[in-house]
């Protein structure tokens, strides 16, 4: 019995060790992949046309879903905030509460999570299919720098798009909060907008936090999703199942990374 337990424990530790090594190795490969993607973004040729198309796919086509989600998130903030603040007789600071929450947390985090689901998964699947059908090999065989041509434009587009999307999310949230707090619940609109103005002008770090987080999250979303697509041939299953598994992994890893890095960045930027 004791030998059996001992053997089980050894197997468990061995499995844990193997998993840890695999994770660290994968993290290292992601680091190399990301550095190539960054290097590709600053090296010639600078692909304005492709970046423009990617901004439309990643950014412009995400606008409506971001605005809609931001609006309803703002409504929830207005509703919850109003009822909570009324208990303390502080409904006058509703506007400040809404804008601080939106700019510092919900704007960048929710936008990044939505971007992962909408554009990140598509990006991963696209690169995965290109890898499986030898299209990436074909690029390399033509002497074309794959990162510069394929990955870096998506990264640049993400870095440009997500901060704008986060601001759109916040703006929509402001009007959602206004509708729920002021129109539906009779909070004072003057206090609501004045409070917002004073919060933003009085603390420039608030806007900075939103933009810095957005840029960082964009880097995480694009590199993690593109990396998983690029490594689709390492999946234990091949073909469509491999792409499906890689896409699922990309969305999970990207989403969890956003939340982990959100905490770490908040600690640094607050």
């Amino acid at each position: 019995m004791l030998t059996f337990l001992h053997s089980m424990l050894l197997d468990f530790v061995e499995g844990l060790g193997k998993r840890a090594i695999a994770t660290v190795t994968k993290l290292g490969r992601w680091g190399v992949f990301s550095s190539h993607a960054l290097a590709g973004a600053v090296s010639r040729p600078f692909r304005r046309g492709i970046i423009g198309r990617e901004i439309i796919i990643i950014g412009a086509e995400s606008l409506s879903i971001i605005a809609l989600t931001g609006f309803f998130t703002g409504m929830v903030l207005g509703l919850q905030g109003y009822h909570t603040l009324t208990k303390f007789g502080s409904e006058a600071v509703l506007g400040q509460g809404v804008i601080i929450t939106l700019l510092s947390e919900l704007g960048p985090v929710m936008s990044a999570l939505l971007l992962t689901g909408r554009a990140g998964s598509a990006l991963c699947a696209q690169i995965g299919v290109m890898r499986n059908s030898e299209q990436i090999d074909a690029l390399e065989c033509m002497g074309i720098e794959t990162y510069n041509y394929l990955i870096s434009p998506k990264l640049v587009a993400g870095l440009i798009s997500l901060p704008i999307l986060s601001l759109v999310f916040c703006a929509a949230g402001v009007y959602g909060g206004y509708l729920a707090g002021c129109v539906l619940l009779n909070a004072n609109p003057g206090y609501y907008f004045d409070g917002m103005k004073s919060a933003v002008s009085g603390d420039p770090a608030l806007l900075r936090m939103c933009l810095v987080k957005s840029v960082f999250f964009a880097f995480v979303v694009v590199t993690v999703c593109a990396f998983h697509g690029h490594e689709v041939d390492r999946q234990p299953v091949k073909g469509a199942s491999g792409v499906s598994k890689a896409t699922t992994e990309a969305v999970v890893v990207s989403s969890v990374s956003i939340l982990v890095w959100d905490y770490l960045l908040s600690c640094i930027l607050i």
């Binding site: 059908s133 299209q135 090999d137 033509m142």
Partner: protein, 252 residues
Amino acid sequence: MNELNVIQLVNIRKRFGQQWVHDQLNLSVPAGKTTVVVGPSGVGKSVMIKYILGMLKPDSGQVLVNGHDVVTMSRTELREMRSHLGVLFQGVALFDSMTVLDNVELPLREKTTLSDAEVRQKSVDKLALVGISASDGSKFPAQLSGGMQKRVGLARALQHDPSIVLFDEPTTGLDPRTTHRIYDLLADTQHRLGYTAVIVSHDIPNVFRIADYVAILEDKKIQACVPAEEVRRADSPWARHFVETDDGGPAA
């Protein structure tokens, strides 16, 4: 290096996991000729193509292309070397988000400073060379038949006038009639442009008719590389070797 051999694989060893794929594999490819590498499925024919392209490194041995060892090349050197090579992939690997014309124009747009009009003209000419009309240039690859996709893939591979063209199972998935047409096309373009062709295939004996040399890859190494006439001659031992086999393996 022998000046006539533009590609040389020297004492290549490679294993995936515990399984040896190649062990002491040697092959010399003469310039301006068509060398066909045949062997059973799964023997590592496509892996050989990947060595030559520098997309996969052998565990040991040399891969010499025009006298330069691909194994030790930097990323920049590899890009430069690959720009002199053309490749027709097994699955053609046309970019499905681009039109036929965009696919064929891509190598020139990326690697030359030609004007838009020159790129367009050269691309239309290359498509004409492989029997694709300009009116098909606006179609997407998914709108073409398998044989037409192969033709477009060949046009793209030949776009920058490479001195070496690699073909990975060029007739896989095609019906016999289209297969013959593709072989005719390969022979015709090779004759006209004079490139060195390396074709890996298990389409035996059809592929022999366009070969100058036939290399037999079996049991982890090249067993022989013989002039194609020898495998085409009915009374030769190599012809008997392939008689009635359709997977490239030895006759039972």
